[in-house]
C-alpha cells in the first residue's frame, strides 16, 4: 500500500508516524499525516520544468544569434540601418536575461520546497519518536491523562511544524514577483 505522499522524506515519515496516527485516532487528536500532506510536493517535476525553461533560453540564444547574423548582413548593404534593429537586439538580451533568471528561480524554488518537505518530515519523525512510549501505551489501551495529553501534544506539534513551513512558502513565491510580467513589449 502506498503512503499517498510524493516526496520521499514524507513517504518515510508516513511509515514512521503509523503508530502516532493510530494513537491519535484513538484519543480524537488531529491526524498528523493529514497535516504533512500540506507540505508534500514533487521537486523532481519542478526541476524538470525549470530545466525546460533552460532549453527555451538556449533556443532564444540561437534565435538571437540568427537575428544578429541577419542584421550584420543588412548593415553591409544599407547606408543607415533602422533604429528598430538596436531596440529589438536589446529586447533579445532582456528576454534572455529574464529566461535565465526564471530557470534559476525554478531550480531554487524546487530546492527550497524539497528542503521544506524534508525538514517537516524530519521534525515530525522526531516528535513521534519523542512521544513513542505514550503512543504505545495508548495503543495498548492506556487512557491515562498523561498518555492522552502527550499524544495530543505530539499531533499538535506536527501540525504547528507544518504550519510554520507552509507559511515560509510565501517567501519562496515572492522571489518570482519580478518574473511574472513580460521582459519585452511590442512597440
Amino acid at each position: 500500500m502506498t503512503s499517498g505522499f510524493e516526496h520521499p522524506a514524507l513517504v518515510l515519515a508516513a511509515e514512521r508516524l503509523t503508530s502516532l496516527r493510530a494513537a491519535a485516532a484513538r484519543v480524537g487528536a488531529p491526524d498528523p499525516l493529514a497535516a504533512l500532506q500540506h507540505v508534500d510536493c514533487s521537486p523532481s517535476v519542478l526541476r524538470a520544468s525549470a530545466a525546460q525553461v533552460g532549453v527555451g533560453r538556449q533556443a532564444l540564444a540561437q534565435a538571437h544569434a540568427e537575428f544578429r547574423d541577419g542584421v550584420e548582413v543588412a548593415e553591409t548593404c544599407l547606408a543607415s540601418f533602422p533604429p528598430e534593429a538596436d531596440r529589438v537586439d536589446g529586447q533579445y538580451r532582456a528576454a534572455a536575461a529574464a529566461a535565465a533568471a526564471t530557470a534559476a528561480a525554478g531550480l531554487s524554488l524546487a530546492d527550497r520546497l524539497d528542503a521544506l518537505a524534508a525538514a517537516a518530515a524530519s521534525e515530525a519523525i522526531g516528535i513521534a519518536s519523542d512521544a513513542g512510549l505514550f503512543v504505545m501505551a495508548i495503543l495498548a489501551g492506556d487512557r491515562s491523562p498523561d498518555a492522552v495529553s502527550a499524544v495530543k501534544a505530539a499531533c499538535a506539534a506536527v501540525t504547528s511544524s507544518v504550519r510554520k513551513h507552509v507559511e515560509s512558502i510565501t517567501d519562496i513565491a515572492a522571489a518570482l514577483d519580478t518574473l511574472t510580467v513580460p521582459a519585452v513589449t511590442a512597440p
Binding site: E6, L46, F67, D69, G70, V71, L78, I169, L176, V184
Partner: protein, 97 residues
C-alpha cells in the same frame, strides 16, 4: 528604411531574420512545454499561489519569445520592402517582343 544598393544581399538578410523569427516562435513553444499542473507544488493555499506565479512566469517568457518573433518578422518585411524599392527605382528597359 533607405533603399539598398544590393537587393539580393538584403533579401538574404531578410531570410536570416525570418529564420530568427521562426526560431523565436519555436522558443515560445519550448517555454510552453515547461508548464506543469499545480500538484507538484503542493496542496496548501501558499503552494497553489506559488504554482500560479510559476505559471505566470512561464507565460511571460512565452510572450517575450512571441513578441521577438513578431518584431523580427516585421524587420525582415521592412528589409524586403527596401530590397523591392531598389528594384522599382531602377529604370525599366522595355523588353523587345
Amino acid at each position: 528604411m533607405p533603399v539598398s544598393r544590393d537587393p539580393d544581399r538584403l533579401r538574404g538578410a531578410a531570410d536570416l531574420l525570418d529564420h530568427a523569427a521562426a526560431a523565436g516562435d519555436k522558443t515560445a513553444g519550448r517555454f510552453a512545454e515547461a508548464r506543469i499542473e499545480s500538484t507538484p507544488f503542493g496542496f496548501s493555499a501558499q503552494a497553489r499561489d506559488l504554482a500560479a506565479r510559476w505559471e505566470a512566469a512561464l507565460a511571460a517568457r512565452e510572450a517575450d519569445a512571441r513578441v521577438l518573433g513578431d518584431e523580427t518578422s516585421d524587420l525582415a518585411g521592412r528589409l524586403r520592402m527596401a530590397a523591392g524599392g531598389y528594384r522599382a527605382a531602377r529604370p525599366r528597359i522595355a523588353a523587345t517582343p
